[in-house]
Assembly symmetry: C3
Homo-oligomer: 340 residues x 3
Amino acid sequence: MSNSSSFVTYDLATLATLLDAELVGDPDTKIHALATLKSAGVGDLSFYHNPRYYSDLSNTKASAVILSKNQAVNYSGNKLLTENPYICYARSSHLFKPKTSDKSSIAHSASIDPSAKLGSNVVIGENVVIAENVDIASNVVIAPNTVIGAGVQIGEASYIEANVSIAHDVVIGKRAHIYSGVVIGSDGFGFAQENGKYLKIAQLGKVIIGDDVEVGANTCIDRGAIDDTVIGNGVKIDNQVQIAHNVEIGDDTVICGCSAIAGSVKIGRNCVIAGAVGIINHVEIADGVTVTAMTLVNQSIREPGSYSSGTGLSRTAEWKKNIVRFRQLDKLMKGFKKDK
Amino acid sequence: MSNSSSFVTYDLATLATLLDAELVGDPDTKIHALATLKSAGVGDLSFYHNPRYYSDLSNTKASAVILSKNQAVNYSGNKLLTENPYICYARSSHLFKPKTSDKSSIAHSASIDPSAKLGSNVVIGENVVIAENVDIASNVVIAPNTVIGAGVQIGEASYIEANVSIAHDVVIGKRAHIYSGVVIGSDGFGFAQENGKYLKIAQLGKVIIGDDVEVGANTCIDRGAIDDTVIGNGVKIDNQVQIAHNVEIGDDTVICGCSAIAGSVKIGRNCVIAGAVGIINHVEIADGVTVTAMTLVNQSIREPGSYSSGTGLSRTAEWKKNIVRFRQLDKLMKGFKKDK
Amino acid sequence: MSNSSSFVTYDLATLATLLDAELVGDPDTKIHALATLKSAGVGDLSFYHNPRYYSDLSNTKASAVILSKNQAVNYSGNKLLTENPYICYARSSHLFKPKTSDKSSIAHSASIDPSAKLGSNVVIGENVVIAENVDIASNVVIAPNTVIGAGVQIGEASYIEANVSIAHDVVIGKRAHIYSGVVIGSDGFGFAQENGKYLKIAQLGKVIIGDDVEVGANTCIDRGAIDDTVIGNGVKIDNQVQIAHNVEIGDDTVICGCSAIAGSVKIGRNCVIAGAVGIINHVEIADGVTVTAMTLVNQSIREPGSYSSGTGLSRTAEWKKNIVRFRQLDKLMKGFKKDK
């Protein structure tokens, strides 16, 4: 896991302190990277949290392993004991992240309207374009070639990656991470039909994004038609998700890659929308709902729990026979009842 | 609905004239924004077109409401009467759209090949790159950081947003709106297989886009292999749609977000392809077809009407049992017939 | 098929030599473009490989046709005879590709960190940003407005189109073609849940891409959490594909448009994943597997062959009845067995 752009080394005692873990073993052990139990070697820290990897634990060449106190007996090497090894691993991961340079505070090639307000310690990359009346808080980073429209507000310590497009009047909270290729505030897809032609409806709402939100690469979030599109605090959105106009997403909900959320959908708090899910317009989803991968949500979900659709995987040869039968289902079942 | 970048005010008499509506009420009422019946307050114009919102109509605090003549009796406040309130709302929406500045006609940082032809009143944003032999008609706007390849033609009054990539020899009609992150004219996905390896087929066709077309954010339209990929007049394409090489889409067809249209598909006129639909290659779809959300179109559709696939939503626990049965359908139904 | 940016002309004898085909007819025939049998006219070369187009062969106005030796008798005009006409067409297509200019070797507006190493004959477009410690081999082209992060390596003769974002420490092999809007090396979607909140896991792995790989427009390939995301040699990836962290794809596998591949999926060699397929996390797929369009792969596939899911297309009216029955399947079949 050697990244060319940085190297760090910790001794195990320091790591134990930083991670608030109990050290059992040699405090002077040098650690310079994270690794899986299987791929770890000298100088690597690993972690054990899933019984599936028990044999990897026995065989690991890691210099130290994070594990839970009640598993301590299963490993004789250097260890960091903690309540929840996966959380401890998550914390430790940030200690080994390559430091990006971000040296030049404001690139000469950036084009920043004089009316824009920039907080302290802001980094603006090459060829960034910032329009009038933009308000960027302190400690924000905007990577190269990103375009920020008029009146946009970006909260403290947010990080906008390269080649992002943020249209006018979008509001982004604190500590957001917006990845490359994201488009926020594009027009909602709204038309009125008149004599077979589509008349564009100007999209006058904003996009309002809370604090601690991630928006994955190439995801789109459209502005509202009249009211706003609203993304709650702590929402995590993966790559290539489509969020249409006037969608509202509750706090701490997760949307996985390639899901398509149509106009005016309301999703509650603490939901998990798995990958490639489709949700039709105006659907409402309660708090605490899980929707499994590639499900079509064609009706509202009023109660927490897990929901699915699709047929599951078959060999194509069998599938072809079964889909013929699927199309006969209603007729068959009517006949079946008659017989009884 | 206050956008930081603009404010407008109309008196109601002016709005009635602009919208060709019949005014009933105080002609001097000041209107500065559109709002839904529910969220409207003083100074807002709203509209009523769907009986579902009848109670909102009774309770609205809007300063005026657009509604149809035969509903006039149901509302006692200021009103604009019209044949079709939704169309009237669509028209009015453009009156409240924030004015973008677009002041600098050609940004100094734009890189424009000397052979490019630019019409009158063209706006070219910062860091736009325009290659040789490009032809851009009058009143076109190209937003910052967009790249236009050699030989591209863009028709009058088209608007290309930020961070768009248009490859060589693409032809775009009049009044197009191309949103951020769109890629037009990328190579079609064409290979010939030889001894288990894939040999690239150069993609020699163009993309030809008609007049009055919208292409949503992060949508891709590939160039044809030999012949062209063709998008008709008035076609509206939402975000993150994939249109493969040699697809042809008829006039006034709508394609909703995240739909994937494979190579050489032909879609007729006035179709509605809902979100996240998949259409396999070489399929032909007649005029006037609707395909519902997340449907797999695995065969041609010869007649107008509505088409669907999928299983609809279930609780995961029940779904797991039912998909086991789905895989047994053909066997079951053979047994069932035998019994009879 | 006239592209404004280039014209080429070959005589048929030269083409026969370049394509290693047997010429029957007039060696001086001038050929300046490729065309389908149906659209071809004077000066066009066409090809015949699929019996479906037999009537087009009889009626073609092409100046010459590529066809297989055993079909030679079916066509009396000028012909190029070859073992495999489709392969021969693929080869010929490159002869008619418009030549891009790429004249300026390094654009003045490009921002290249002094520590970056550039091979010979490299083309760097306008507004390209190249961070520290990047290593770009000979004959690489990087089109305008693309951003290359720290420590990235790009192999010989690779072509990176406009508006691409490549994050730090990504490794790309030789002769890659990366299309516009692609994002490589964005963070994997990894979080640890703690008291209902999501704690970000720093993504420390790289993306490693082999030789001869294509990555289609707006596709995303995330970096690994700890180990790397690995794309084998000869892999062809279409537009808008999502490849999550720690995915491994074997050599010469094809992934069609809009497919979503979740974390830690392993796909073998010589597989074909059709369009809009979803593959859930940790699934393993054997060598030589085909997955048909829009299939949900919700379990590992251990044997070669073709796999599918979904219900196939129905009229919406019938579909609505059948999905009600689908939800009753398990109950029905239990009842059915009991009766017997």
